[in-house]
Amino acid sequence: MQRSRLAFWIFFGPVLMWLLLLIVLPHLDLLTMSFRGENDYGDAVWTMQNYTNFFMEPIYWLTFVRTALYAIITTFITFLLAMPVSFYIAKLARTKVQGALMILLLLPFWVSELVRIYGWMILLRESGVLNFFMLKLGIIDTPIEMLYNDATMIMGLVYTSMLFMVVPLVSVMESLDDSLIEAAHDLGAGRLTIWRTIILPHCKPGITSGSIVVFMLALGNYLTPNLMGGKNSLWFTEQIYNQFIASFNWNQGSAFGFLLLVLSSLIIWVGLKVTGQKLGEVAS
């Protein structure tokens, strides 16, 4: 008994330390920091000013709304694209091809996100590969700037998120018995009805967990919106970065950080409520 308790602490200790020192403590520090500010005399005081700033200053909350909306759009597009891809991998491809396709999906993640985004920039920019070929082929006369707009940015976000949607979808689809699809077909259902009544309801847990991951990743993404979205596209993470680094206003920055955490959790909670699911069921 004594010995097993020792073993428990030996293994559990590092996890606990990691959680405590690297996650809980810094967050507590940021939390207190977000409630601190200076009064008119330059003294440090407790204040709600950092939070009220977010709601009073339209640029801040508008940026957040914009970020959240685009993250939702990204999630939805990723879902639409991932559904047929996952179905092909899980149900139609032969076992050997299945593995190869999964590796193809994973492959881009062997290099860092920065490199991948620069790859896209080389392809899409005014003097880039795509423009070069289109000019050569005579499709266009003058090069088009394909970077630095919202559509490109969303494409970049979808590209980065694809894997995190496909993996949970493939695993739920693999557990779908083929004979259910055949049975529905036999009972008179067409393709669309089979998707609506059999495949989608079966995949619900996978869709939810994939969507949560993709939404959170898109919302918290910094590189892609910054590099592909250009100057005009404000992303909420950029606001946080600006507060910390450019304005050196750590108090405001940590308030934004917590607002991002709370608001995005709220959006997910609402999403789960609307689709009638419980987080516990999704996680299991």
């Binding site: 018995d177 055949e182 077909h185 036999d186 009972l187 008179g188 259902a189």
Partner: protein
């Protein structure tokens, strides 16, 4: 009598492998037709072609006189009860049963009425609100059948639906299925590898082997007058002897077995003298210690063990040449004295032997 289903010269090849090889048959309206065969004989492929999930390499399928070759499964007037039932776990019982009706655009009130009516018919009244995982094996079975029957198909296909049930329930469902079919009058096509299922339930049975129909007939015909050695061995138990025809007299022949016994019997097809034959003997064809031995083929065996199985008890016996024979042991207390190691004589009537020319 019209045919609900007729299949003409159906062939299905997968690469070099011929799964279904030139099969032709008709199923009259309202009958219970079984396809019996060992696993891998092509019976599931045949069923899937009738349901529309596979296209035949060549051949015709007519259902109620209409050609079905270019009709997709969702538009065919047949429904399939899957081997593992394939009930939709995301729906309750009523939704499962109503699934097909809704696809046809039947109105809400009618769907409800029909669903309740069919659930009552299969003996599950008031089960509509239950979830699939709350049902027992036999109940799931009946929901799967109800889900198809509610659509009033011309033909109901059943793909070994009793395979997953335990023995007791299987015996019970056999009788229930037969009763249900008689009650609803739908044509049933039932495939199985279990000969007792096929024999008990069917009006007619087709025995399938290597993609071909060996014989189509009533259960009595298959059991009593098998046309091929495969049918003789596959349907019911049989004891096999090999031998040579040594004498023919009218339609009777004398066979000298490899062990040296001389038996009189009637061959299935005329065989010349000197022809090698296989002789099949049902366990119940052999009588233990026959009182009147006139006209019987009688020989001595040693009891090796008693295979007690209630009404289905048998004796495992060997001749002195070590040829194993299974002999039915009637449970009328007459033979209770028999112990392993005893020497007994058995006899059989020439009419009950089944004799085929040996292949090759």
């Amino acid at each position: 009598m019209t045919n609900d289903l007729s299949v003409r010269n159906m062939v299905k090849r997968f690469g070099d492998f011929t799964a279904v090889d030139n099969v032709t048959f008709d199923v009259p309206k309202g009958s219970f037709f079984s396809i019996l065969g060992p696993s891998g004989c092509g019976k599931t492929t045949l069923l899937r072609m009738i349901a529309g999930f596979e296209g035949p390499t060549s051949g015709e399928i007519d259902i109620r006189g209409k050609n079905m070759l270019d009709v997709p499964p969702n538009l065919r007037p047949v429904n399939l009860v899957f081997q593992h039932l394939a009930l939709f776990p995301m729906m309750n019982v009523a939704e499962n049963v109503a699934f097909g009706l809704k696809r046809r655009g039947v109105g809400g009130v009618e769907v409800k009425q029909k669903t309740e009516a069919i659930l009552e018919r299969v003996g599950l009244p008031g089960f509509g609100e239950k979830q699939i995982n709350q049902l027992s094996g036999g109940q799931k079975q009946r929901v799967a059948i109800a889900r198809c029957l509610v659509l009033e198909p011309s033909v109901l296909l059943l793909d070994e639906p009793l395979g997953a049930l335990d023995l007791k329930l299987r015996e019970q469902m056999k009788v229930e299925l037969k009763k249900l079919q008689a009650k609803v009058g739908t044509t049933f096509i039932y495939i199985t590898h279990d000969q007792s299922e096929a024999l008990v339930m069917s009006d007619r049975v087709a025995v399938m082997n290597n993609g071909q129909f060996e014989q189509v007939g009533t259960p009595q015909e298959l059991y009593g007058k098998p046309k091929t050695p495969f049918v003789a061995q596959f349907v019911g138990d049989n004891n096999k002897w090999s031998g040579v025809i040594t004498q023919t007299k009218g339609d009777e022949v004398s066979i000298t077995t490899d062990e040296g016994y001389v038996f009189h019997t009637k061959p299935h097809a005329p065989c010349p003298e000197g022809c090698r034959v296989n002789l099949f003997l049902r366990p119940e064809a052999m009588r233990i210690e026959p009182r009147n031995t006139e006209g019987l083929n009688v020989f001595k065996v040693t009891v090796k063990s008693i295979l007690f199985d209630g009404a289905n008890s048998r004796l495992l016996t060997v001749t002195k040449e070590d040829h194993e024979l299974i002999v039915t042991l009637p449970q009328n207390r007459k033979f209770d004295y028999i112990q392993p190691g005893d020497k007994i004589s058995v006899g059989w009537h020439p009419d009950s032997g089944i004799c085929f020319e040996a292949e090759g």
